[in-house]
Amino acid sequence: MNRIESAPLPVPRGRQAATTISLAATFLILVVFFAWRSPNFLTAINLVNLASTLAIVGIVAIGETLVLITGGVDISVGAVAALAGVVTSVLLLNYGWPSIWLCALAALIAGTIVGLTNGLLITRFKINPLIATLGAYSIARGLAFVLSGGQTNLLNDPGFQFLGRGAIAGIPFSLLLMLLLYALFWVVLNHTPFGRNLYAIGSNREAARLSGIRVNRHLLVVYAVTGLLSALGGLINVSQLASSAPRSAVGLEFTVIAAVVLGGTSLSGGKGSLVGTFIGVIILRILDNGLTLLNISSFWQDVARGTVLLLAVGFDQIRQRWSEREARRGQ
């Protein structure tokens, strides 16, 4: 049998690659612009600074990418990160747990539990993910304040500070950890049945279910992992700051979603890549860093951030439609 529409088919990853390329272009434009405007931008010291401050948003963005690929969204990540930090310090300081690592472990578990709760609300009670995680956000943030009594707590554990501040062979440990997680989840997403199933679920949930994929179980795992990664982000934050505060990571969810979407992951599910997310995270970080180096008022920085998000996503949208039209014309 002949193909009925005899158009040459694009390579499957081609479309994603195009998005990644236009992202990389955005990235390059920013780098060139900042390098031109600020002599301090491309210095070794600033690059190390950039490298060592990527991890928090970067790691949480991994979880958000997974969630968005399944067609969901999680806006509780910032609250979970804050809760994790608070749990660590409260267990250590108020409850006298013997080791900070044990407390950190408990914090990771707490994050996972919030994630699982999100997953249950979404799968069992069929609550829209935005609303479910909005509720969880409210509750987790509230809990962080209740547990800490609103206090900032110092955590002076040199071993623990290695997590956020240490370096191996000059490379920040948090960056290494983040790269490791990106590699790990890249493999999971692209080369394990679990990862592929996530795309299937986001692409067509009913098809996935009818193909015998345990959709609810997958979603549970994804939200739990996102909770876990958010908690890990919170721990790195605490370690970097050597202190925990319930007010921390305010608005992290929006930064993370912006980075993931910037990276080409679709809010409607089924599409997305960790490579894109990685670049998205770097772009937002560079934007912040560059604008600060240029001594631009923080008020204008908000304006710039929103504008870049709209421009980048808008441009990609137009490019995609244009190339689709081209492809149709070519048929």
Binding site: I4, P12, S203, N204, K271
Partner: protein, 500 residues
């Protein structure tokens, strides 16, 4: 068929109620290895519910299911699959952003250690695609495939899982005759390997070609199970409907009035080229083409849902520019799309709201609806077209049967007062009884002066309703027939590119 063997599948006295209303009333069905059992019935007869129970989608309220003589419980599709039962739904379920190969093996990706064995994925996909002689690259994205190709992948998917029982719900609805042949070929191969098939179709003419036995349901009850040799299609239809059917007689075509719609060299390269045709007042023109011949795209372009590159559209002799469905509506063109659930209806809106969807301008004053007028007009069309629903015009269209849904879309354009009505595959997924009904309505409308253009891949449909028939092949009009000249063979030949 050796009837002394034990059946592979027995469904005994299956009952199912929704909100206290019986949908299935002690329905039994048995299926033997290596046979094709046609499961027939009108929409709402309970076929879907029955197979969804078999697939574990629904839980039965009563009755038992035996596989190989053993009682089984099927709580979810996974259970069914574990027992070798595989469903191919009429509405395709695929992941558009994954590759063909991944879709084939969705939920069953072969692994090496914890990882997906991509080489095996490729190999398996190629193997099964080759089995169907399908030339679809396994790495193509589903999104980039045509509707037909997607369906074929769906069928291959069932093969790939090596099911013992495959349920096919209207598998040929989207297939061209040649593709149907390929499918039947495959089904016979499957039979040879002792796979049992439950085959659901509205195309009764296919049944004798492929089925060994038929089971007929009506109103949630089991009506008959007979070997195919004992029945002809007429009898089957009678059993399904429960009363005598009269054969549609082909009347002679009335003389066409002055041209209402005229296309001149309408072209969009790659889809359709040089299309010139006219549809007169009171005339029904049919365009027959195999799937992918470009006739579907043509209708969308006339209606402004797609663009055309060159050419001109005339309405009543005046050239019109159509860039959007709005322009088309203003020019007096109505369009009944192929997929009424996706493109035709707002399912959660009422019949009234759907009927008046294209005529807000006339039914409102300063943006406020004239409620009484709206209701009255809706009621008028409901009566005239015989749209049936229990709850009156305030019923949500979601709860109407396929035929009635189609009539709602029809009513919308009549309400909008169009001069030309374009229908793309007007009876897709509509059951036998409603089909005849719709044809009659179309003829009546034509008799009242409407110009109707029907585009279809169903040769019977084109033959039975059109006054004049065009065939399309590879985006061009390949032949034209009067009603008297047209025959199944000649149409097929012309549509396949042969000389008329």
């Amino acid at each position: 068929m050796d009837n002394n063997r034990r059946p592979l599948l027995e469904m005994r006295d299956i009952s199912k109620r929704f909100f206290g209303v019986p949908v299935l009333d002690r329905v039994s069905l048995d299926l033997y290895a290596g046979e094709v059992l046609a499961l027939l019935g009108e929409n709402g007869a309970g076929k879907s519910t029955l197979i969804k129970i078999l697939n574990g989608d629904y839980q039965k309220d009563g009755g038992d299911i035996y596989l190989d003589g053993e009682l089984v419980t099927l709580r979810e599709p996974r259970d069914a699959e574990a027992h070798g039962i595989r469903m191919i739904y009429q509405e395709l379920h695929y992941a558009p952003d994954l590759s063909v190969a991944e879709n084939l093996l969705l939920g069953h990706l072969p692994r090496r250690g914890p990882f997906v064995d991509w080489k095996a994925v490729d190999d398996i996909a190629r193997k099964y695609l080759a089995l169907l002689k399908v030339n679809i690259p396994p790495r193509a994205l589903m999104r980039d495939l045509s509707v037909v190709e997607r369906e074929i992948v769906e069928i291959v998917k069932a093969l790939a899982i090596q099911a013992r029982i495959i349920v096919m719900d209207e598998p040929t609805a989207a297939l061209a005759p040649r593709e149907v042949d390929i499918l039947f070929e495959i089904i016979r191969n499957l039979q040879a390997q002792n796979v049992a098939i439950i085959y659901i179709s509205h195309r009764l003419d296919e049944i004798p070609r492929i089925a060994n036995r038929v089971t007929i349901l009506r109103d949630g009850k089991h009506i008959a199970t007979r070997p195919i040799e004992d029945l002809d299609t007429r009898e089957i239809a009678q059993l399904m409907v429960g009363r005598k059917m009269t054969e549609r007689s082909r009347k002679t075509a009335p003389a066409a009035g002055e041209p209402v719609l005229r296309l001149e060299r309408l072209t969009r390269p790659g889809d359709f080229e040089d299309i010139s045709l006219t549809v007169g007042r009171g005339e029904i023109v049919g365009i027959f083409g195999l799937l992918g011949a470009g006739h579907g795209r043509l209708t969308r372009a006339i209606f402004g849902a797609d663009t055309y590159q060159s050419g001109q559209i005339f309405i009543n002799g005046t050239p019109v520019t159509i860039r959007s469905p709005r322009d088309a509506r203003r020019a007096g063109i109505g369009f009944v799309p192929i997929d009424r659930k996706v493109q035709g209806l707002v399912l959660d809106m009422t019949v009234r709201e759907n009927v008046t969807l294209a005529n807000w301008g006339q039914l409102s004053r300063m943006g406020w609806f004239r409620r009484r007028l709206e209701r009255a007009n809706t009621q008028k069309w409901v009566d005239r077209l015989g749209i049936r629903m229990a709850g009156g015009v305030e019923t949500r269209t979601r709860y109407l049967s396929g035929g009635n849904q189609q009539k709602v879309v029809l009513a919308r354009w009549l309400e909008a007062g169009v001069k030309v009505l374009i229908l793309n595959e007007p009876t897709w997924g509509v059951d036998v009884g409603a089909r005849a009904d719709i044809y009659e309505q179309l003829e009546a409308l034509a008799a009242q002066g409407l110009a109707i253009l029907i585009v279809s891949s169903d040769i019977q449909e084109v033959l039975s309703v059109s006054h004049r028939i065009l065939t399309m092949h590879k985006g061009r009009i390949s032949a034209e027939f009067s009603r008297a000249d047209a025959s199944e063979e000649r149409l097929l030949q012309a549509a396949a590119g042969g000389e008329a």
